[in-house]
């Protein structure tokens, strides 16, 4: 039976009332929307495969970015380690793992930059050259943009950790950031398969 207290009925039997953490749900929504964006770019890439009217073709100019891929995928591991270190209260290990994540992400960005320099400077492939150039730079560039955003956030977290400002109550926030970083990595797996394996 309910009793009116200050306008609304109160359930007498106190129920356990737990709701999900808002950061996780918000990040899930953002990832859903971002996935839709990436799918459109991937579809455009696949749709235009082999439809360029002139060269160069992917098989002529693309090389497998092995080093970058290894670095980016391992950075997901270090991001995860940073979160679990914070969960155990090990701040020193958390800081070190954040530094490792940022470093590995930076190496990945450098390999992409080197690849773009090679393509533009040596192979004369730009976004204007043909459909391959258009879709390649758009898709890889979109992913690189997400890497840059993730790195800025991770670097900020690292600076706070270095200054000793990261505490256990920030665990959920760091976890949300790591979810974003895992998403960026997962997208790279798709981009790698579509652009460098299937497309070549």
């Amino acid at each position: 039976m309910s009793t009116p207290v200050s306008g609304v009925p109160i359930n007498q039997s106190e129920i356990e009332w737990r709701l999900p953490y808002r950061g996780t749900i918000g990040m899930g929504c953002l990832i859903l929307a971002e996935s839709a964006v990436f799918i459109i770019f991937v579809v455009a890439y696949v749709y235009y495969l082999g439809k360029s009217l002139n060269g160069p073709t992917p098989s002529q100019v693309l090389e497998l970015p092995i080093l970058g891929t290894i670095c980016l995928l391992s950075s997901s591991v270090t991001a995860h380690l940073a979160v679990s270190a914070l969960r155990k209260g090990n701040l020193r290990s958390c800081t070190a793992n954040l530094a490792g994540t940022v470093l590995l992400g930076l190496i990945f960005l450098c390999t992409t930059a080197r690849e773009w320099y090679h393509l533009i400077h040596d192979e004369h492939l730009t976004i204007k050259t043909n459909l391959f150039g258009t879709t390649y730079y758009a898709l890889v560039g979109l992913h690189a943009t997400h890497v840059v955003i993730g790195l800025v956030l991770l670097f900020t977290a690292f600076v706070f950790a270095l200054a000793g400002r990261v505490k256990e109550e920030h665990l959920e926030k760091l976890d949300v950031l790591s979810i974003y970083w895992h998403f960026v990595d997962a997208v790279w797996v798709v981009v790698f398969l579509v652009v460098y394996v299937l497309g070549r």
């Binding site: 309910s2 009332w17 709701l19 455009a44």
Partner: protein, 555 residues
């Protein structure tokens, strides 16, 4: 009934500057919701004036009231404005205002993101209209877009659309897309993470449920639109070739990308309209909503199926029989969950103690007109029929039947229903009935008769026509209907303003309703509820008013 919060709102007079500063910097979901609604109402009026100009141009044959170029700009701006800067913001405005109140929360999950989303959407709308100052106008930057609201390639390429008009179009849509995704994210997070004690998902009122589905659609539909705008901008600024047919690019790909957004968009607009009907119809029939689980299931089903129907806009593009058949089937399947909803509304009204107040009148208009719109929708979803009428005025009449006859009518119902909550004053019933009947007459004159020139072969976006086509009488009726609707809307706007000054005091709960927003005072204080409520059923205020027979005993 006593309000939860007993503190009276402070009546002190403050300097206008500080009031303006407070509104500009607010993160309160109610103020942001109201700003969304005000912004959208402004654009609704602008888009309405554009529609009137279009109708005046078409009333008589061989008319040269407008120049062809101005006509092209007007229909482009009308479509873009109504969908992106009137339709979506007004629905988000209601969502922003009502969702936290209905789930017993004090604010949205991310108040600052909420303000950011609103301002970036508003900036998108301003940017779109800023384009009018270009070209032959004030700044030599470009001029209003004239590529149609779906901006088919290759019309949008640099060659066919020089200047910056198309850039204004794509950038303003990109900005409003960011705003929409931000708001949708906020609504989902609010509903999932901020519900008051006892409000399980099965006790959630239907309005938040439908906003949950709508927001889900926003993620998967607006994302592709933003992606397509990025591609278009790359084409126009950096010389990329996504939609450049000269370099092997595809114009059909743009159609696919646009309609992957464009069709779910219709459901993004119509689901909140369903949500308003879901709240209003039971209250004015004095019965609990019939088939709550079926309503939720049907909404979720509509959300999913609407993602697989986009190519019914493209039957004549040459997808082949297999593609056409799939999209005919998928489109027709949507009528099943929609039918369930209509039956449930009728079953709620059936045997109820119906009160024909203005909100209920608008909902009954909504029910009837939505049914007719659904029937012409089924006609158009059949590919052979569609081949005959594609891009004719029949299509224009069909989708305006949904957008005006269903969505706008439900929206007006919502205005009359929640106005007392927002302002503490009732809207004038007599003026409201005038508004309703003028609107009904104007609407049916306009959009019933618009089907006929369509069947007689009048294409959409036509600038003018010869006298011997047999379209002129129909277009005259359509134009007169448009003028009557304009009068009805002026009636409504006058009512909005004058009721705020002279309206009767509404009290906390003028309709004797059942959901939580009516438990707090009108207008609600900035913290909504002084004590966070606890609920035990789908109709918490019924439980409160009838402690001898609460709903919670039956659920």
């Amino acid at each position: 009934m006593q309000a939860i919060d007993e503190t009276t709102a402070s009546q002190d007079r403050r300097a206008p500057v500080s009031i303006i500063y407070e509104w500009l910097t607010t993160v309160d979901h109610k103020k942001i919701g109201l700003m969304y609604i005000a912004f959208a109402l402004f654009f609704l009026l602008v888009g309405g004036v554009e529609a009137l100009l279009i109708r005046i141009q078409l009333m008589v044959p061989n008319n040269h009231f407008l120049s062809p170029q101005v006509f092209n700009r007007l229909f482009t701006m009308h479509g873009t404005t109504m969908v992106f800067f009137a339709g979506m913001p007004i629905l988000f405005g209601f969502g922003n205002y009502l969702v936290p109140l209905m789930i017993g929360a004090r604010d949205m999950a991310f108040p600052k993101l909420n303000a950011f989303s609103f301002w970036i959407s508003a900036f998108g709308g301003i940017l779109l209209y800023f384009s009018y100052f270009g070209g032959s106008g004030l700044y030599a930057a470009g001029t209003a877009p004239d590529v149609g609201w779906f901006a088919y390639a290759p019309l949008t390429s640099k060659v066919f659309s020089p200047g910056h008009s198309t850039d204004y179009w794509s950038l303003s849509l990109f900005l409003s897309g960011i705003g929409s995704i931000g708001t949708a994210l906020n609504i989902v997070t609010t509903i999932l993470c901020m519900r008051c004690k006892g409000m399980t998902m099965t006790r959630l009122p239907l309005l938040p449920w439908l906003y949950l589905v709508t927001s889900g659609l926003v993620f998967v539909a607006v994302g592709p639109l933003s992606a397509a705008q990025i591609m278009l901008t790359l084409d126009r600024y950096l010389g990329a070739h996504f939609f450049d047919t000269q370099a092997g690019g595809s114009a059909v790909l743009w159609m696919h990308f646009f309609w992957i957004f464009g069709h779910p968009e219709v459901y993004i607009l119509v689901l909140p309209a369903f949500a308003f009907a879901n709240e209003i119809i039971p209250v004015f029939s004095r019965k609990a909503m019939f088939g709550y689980p079926a309503m939720v299931a049907a909404s979720v089903a509509i959300g999913f199926v609407s993602l697989s129907v986009w190519a019914h806009h493209m039957f004549t593009v040459g997808m082949g029989p297999a593609g056409n058949t799939f999209f005919v089937f998928a489109t027709m399947v949507i009528s099943v969950p929609t039918g369930i909803k209509i039956f449930n509304w009728l079953a709620t009204i059936w045997g109820g103690k119906i009160s024909f107040a203005v909100p209920m009148l608008f909902c009954i208009g909504f029910l009837f007109q939505f049914l007719v719109a659904g029937l012409t929708g089924i006609m158009l979803s059949a590919a052979p029929f569609n081949w005959q009428l594609n891009n004719s005025y029949f299509v224009v009449a069909h989708f305006h039947y949904v957008l005006v006859g269903a969505i706008l009518f439900a929206l007006f119902g919502a205005f009359y229903y929640w106005y007392p909550k927002v302002t503490g004053k009732l809207m004038n019933e007599t003026l409201g009935k005038w508004h309703f009947w003028l609107m009904v007459v104007g609407f049916h004159l306009t959009f019933d008769f618009m089907h006929i020139p369509g069947i007689l072969g009048m294409p959409r976006r036509i600038y003018t026509y010869e006298a011997n086509r047999g379209w002129q009488g129909w277009n005259m009726i359509v134009g007169v209907g448009g003028v009557i609707q304009a009068v009805a809307i002026l009636c409504f706007v006058y009512n909005l303003i004058s009721s705020y000054r002279h309206g009767e005091d509404a009290g906390t709960d003028p309709w004797d309703a059942w959901t939580l927003e009516w438990a707090t005072q009108s207008p609600p204080p900035s913290y909504n509820f002084a004590i966070e409520p606890t609920v035990a059923s789908r109709r918490p205020l019924w439980d409160l008013k009838h402690p001898e027979d609460p709903d919670s005993d039956y659920e």
